[in-house]
C-alpha cells in the first residue's frame, strides 16, 4: 500500500469516528460542510462533465425532500425506504422533463431549471400534501445529527467514487467530448441525448437523496427552505472554484466556504451577509480558475 493510500485510509477512519470526537456544535458545522460538498458533487456531474449549469437543480432536491417527508413523517414509512423513494422520485421527475430540458444549452438550460425550481416552490406552498406554507415537522430524536452525519458521509463517498469513475472511464471521456462539441460527438456515433439524460438523472437522484437526509436533519421542511436560491449560489460558488479539480475541489472549497461562513456569522452577526458576499467576490477574483489551476496541482 502506498503512503498516499495510507493517508487516505487514515482520513476516512478519522471521518468515521469524527462524531465521537466533536461537540454537537462542531458536528453540525461538519454536517453543513458534508451537505454542501454533496450538493456540489451532484451538480458537478452535469456541470463539470457536460458543461450544463443546473442553476435550478435544487428543484430535484426539494422534490425528493417532500417525497421523503410525506412518506417518513406523515405516512411513517421506514427511513431508508423513504430516502430511496425520494431519490427515485426525483430521478423519474428528471426523466420526464429531460427530453425537453436537455435539448437546451448554457443559459437557456439554466433558466429552464430555474423555472422548474420556481414552479415546484409555488406548488409546494399551495398543496395540502406538502403542508402548504406551514410545511412538515419531524419528531426530533437524540440520534438525528449522528444519523444525518453518516447518511451525508455515505452519499459523499458514493459521489466521490462516481466522480472518480467518470474521470477514468470511457463514459466520462464521452461526456467531456460532448461538452466540447456535441455535433462532432454525434458524427462519431455518440448518442449524446442518452448520455446527457443519464447525467441529468444521476444528478437528480443524488439531489433527491440529499433532500431526504436534509429534511431529516433539519427536522422541518417548507418551500422557502427547500427551494432556497442561496443553496444554488453556494453550490456554484464552490463549483466555480473547483473547475480544474473535480475530484477533491468541491470538498476543499465547501470546507473553506462553511468555515468562512461560520466565522463571519459568529463574529459579525449583523454584517455577516455583506461580509460573506465580499469574501465570495475576493475569492473569485483571487482564484478565477480555482485553487488547483496548475495541472501539477490537479486533485
Amino acid at each position: 500500500m502506498k503512503k498516499r493510500d495510507l493517508i487516505l485510509l487514515a482520513g476516512l477512519c478519522l471521518l468515521f469516528f469524527l462524531p465521537s470526537l466533536l461537540s454537537p456544535y462542531w458536528l453540525r458545522v461538519i454536517i453543513s460542510t458534508l451537505f454542501l460538498s454533496c450538493l456540489s458533487y451532484s451538480h458537478n456531474l452535469l456541470f463539470y462533465f457536460l458543461g450544463y449549469p443546473a442553476f435550478g437543480g435544487i428543484a430535484f432536491f426539494g422534490f425528493g425532500a417532500y417525497v421523503f417527508s410525506v412518506l417518513y413523517a406523515n405516512l411513517s414509512y421506514p427511513f431508508f425506504l423513504s430516502l430511496l423513494l425520494g431519490g427515485f422520485s426525483s430521478l423519474l421527475l428528471s426523466l420526464s422533463v429531460s427530453p425537453a430540458v436537455m435539448r437546451l444549452k448554457s443559459h437557456y438550460f439554466a433558466i429552464a431549471t430555474l423555472a422548474l425550481q420556481l414552479s415546484f416552490m409555488e406548488l409546494a406552498e399551495n398543496l395540502d400534501i406538502t403542508g402548504g406554507t406551514k410545511g412538515i415537522v419531524f419528531k426530533l430524536t437524540q440520534q438525528s445529527n449522528l444519523i444525518s452525519f453518516y447518511a451525508f458521509l455515505f452519499i459523499l463517498l458514493t459521489l466521490l467514487t462516481f466522480t472518480l469513475f467518470l474521470e477514468i472511464s470511457n463514459f466520462g471521456l464521452t461526456m467531456k467530448a460532448i461538452k466540447e462539441d456535441e455535433t462532432t460527438s454525434l458524427s462519431v456515433g455518440v448518442n449524446t441525448m442518452a448520455y446527457k439524460s443519464l447525467a441529468f438523472m444521476s444528478m437528480a437522484f443524488f439531489l433527491g437523496l440529499l433532500g431526504g437526509v436534509f429534511s431529516f436533519w433539519n427536522a422541518y421542511v417548507d418551500a422557502p427552505t427547500l427551494f432556497d436560491p442561496m443553496l444554488s449560489v453556494k453550490t456554484f460558488f464552490v463549483l466555480t472554484l473547483s473547475m480544474s479539480a473535480p475530484l477533491f475541489g468541491p470538498l476543499l472549497w465547501s470546507w473553506i466556504f462553511e468555515m468562512t461562513f461560520e466565522l463571519l456569522w459568529s463574529k459579525f452577526l449583523l454584517l455577516h451577509g455583506l461580509l460573506l458576499g465580499l469574501a465570495i467576490v475576493v475569492l473569485i477574483l483571487l482564484f478565477p480558475r480555482g485553487l488547483a489551476w496548475k495541472r501539477s496541482w490537479k486533485l
Partner: protein
C-alpha cells in the same frame, strides 16, 4: 452497380433563403464523387444533411437502398457514414489517442486505435491534446476519427483546404488508400487538381441546384459550369 447513396429531391431553406432546390444524385458503391460550386451554393449544407447534422425540409436520403432520412446523426455514423468538417473539430481537451479511441468505442465495429493512428501518421503524437495540433495534423485526426467508424461512405468537406503541398500529397495518398479499400467517397473541394486525381465523377452545384453531373472532362467543356464556377480559361486547367 449497387448504389451506396441516393439523394432524392432534397430541399432546404433558411427563412426565405432557398439553399438547396430539389437536389438529386447518387453515388455507387466504391465510387468517389466530387462536389464543387461557388461559395454559398449549398455544398456544406448538403454534406450536413447527408450526415444528419441538418434536417432537410423535404426529400429523402438512402444508404444502400435503406431510407435513413429520419435517422439521427449518431445512427448514420454507426450505419457507416464517416465525415470530416470544413473547419477541423478535434476534441481539444482530449488527447489524440482519446479522440480516436472514442470513435472506435462508439462505432461498435472493433476498429483498432493504434492501427488507425499509425495509418494516418499520428501515432507518435498520441499523447498530445487535440487542441495542440497544427491544421494539417487536425485534418489527419479528423480522418482518423472518421476511419475509426469503418465507414462505407466518407463525406469530406474541403479536406485539402489550407494544407501545404506536402500535406496535400499525404492526405491524397491516404484517400487513395481508402479508395483502394473500397470506401465510397463524396468530397466537397476547391483544390481541384488534388480532387480530380481522386474522383470518378463531378457534381456541380450552383444556387442550390445540380447544374452538372458527369465526367471531369465533360465538366471542363460545359458552358454552364464555366459561367457559374470555373470562369473563362481558368489557370487551374491550363496545360
Amino acid at each position: 452497380m449497387e448504389k451506396e447513396l441516393e439523394v432524392i429531391n432534397v430541399r432546404k431553406s433558411y427563412g426565405g433563403n432557398q439553399v438547396l432546390e430539389s437536389v438529386n444524385f447518387s453515388v455507387r458503391i466504391g465510387e468517389a464523387v466530387g462536389i464543387i460550386g461557388p461559395n454559398g451554393s449549398g455544398k456544406t449544407t448538403l454534406i450536413n444533411i447527408i450526415s444528419g447534422i441538418t434536417k432537410q425540409d423535404s426529400g429523402n436520403i438512402r444508404l444502400k437502398n435503406v431510407d435513413i432520412s429520419s435517422e439521427p446523426p449518431y445512427r448514420r455514423a454507426k450505419l457507416g457514414i464517416g465525415r470530416t468538417f470544413q473547419i477541423p473539430k478535434p476534441f481539444s481537451g482530449l488527447t489524440v489517442w482519446e479522440n480516436v479511441q472514442m470513435a472506435c468505442t462508439h462505432s461498435g465495429k472493433g476498429a483498432d486505435t493504434e492501427d488507425i493512428l499509425k495509418r494516418v501518421g499520428l501515432y507518435e503524437l498520441r499523447d498530445k491534446k487535440g487542441g495542440e495540433l497544427s491544421l494539417a495534423q487536425r485534418k489527419r485526426l479528423e480522418m482518423a476519427r472518421a476511419m475509426a467508424l469503418k465507414p462505407s461512405l466518407l463525406l469530406l468537406d474541403e479536406v485539402f483546404a489550407g494544407l501545404n503541398p506536402a500535406s496535400v500529397k499525404e492526405m491524397w495518398n491516404m484517400l487513395r488508400g481508402l479508395r483502394e479499400d473500397g470506401v465510397s467517397i463524396l468530397m466537397v473541394e476547391h483544390v481541384l487538381k488534388a480532387m480530380f486525381g481522386l474522383v470518378d465523377r463531378v457534381i456541380v452545384l450552383h444556387e442550390g441546384r445540380v447544374i452538372y453531373d458527369g465526367s471531369i472532362e465533360g465538366m471542363l467543356e460545359d458552358e454552364g459550369v464555366r459561367r457559374a464556377y470555373l470562369g473563362e480559361r481558368h489557370p487551374t486547367f491550363e496545360g
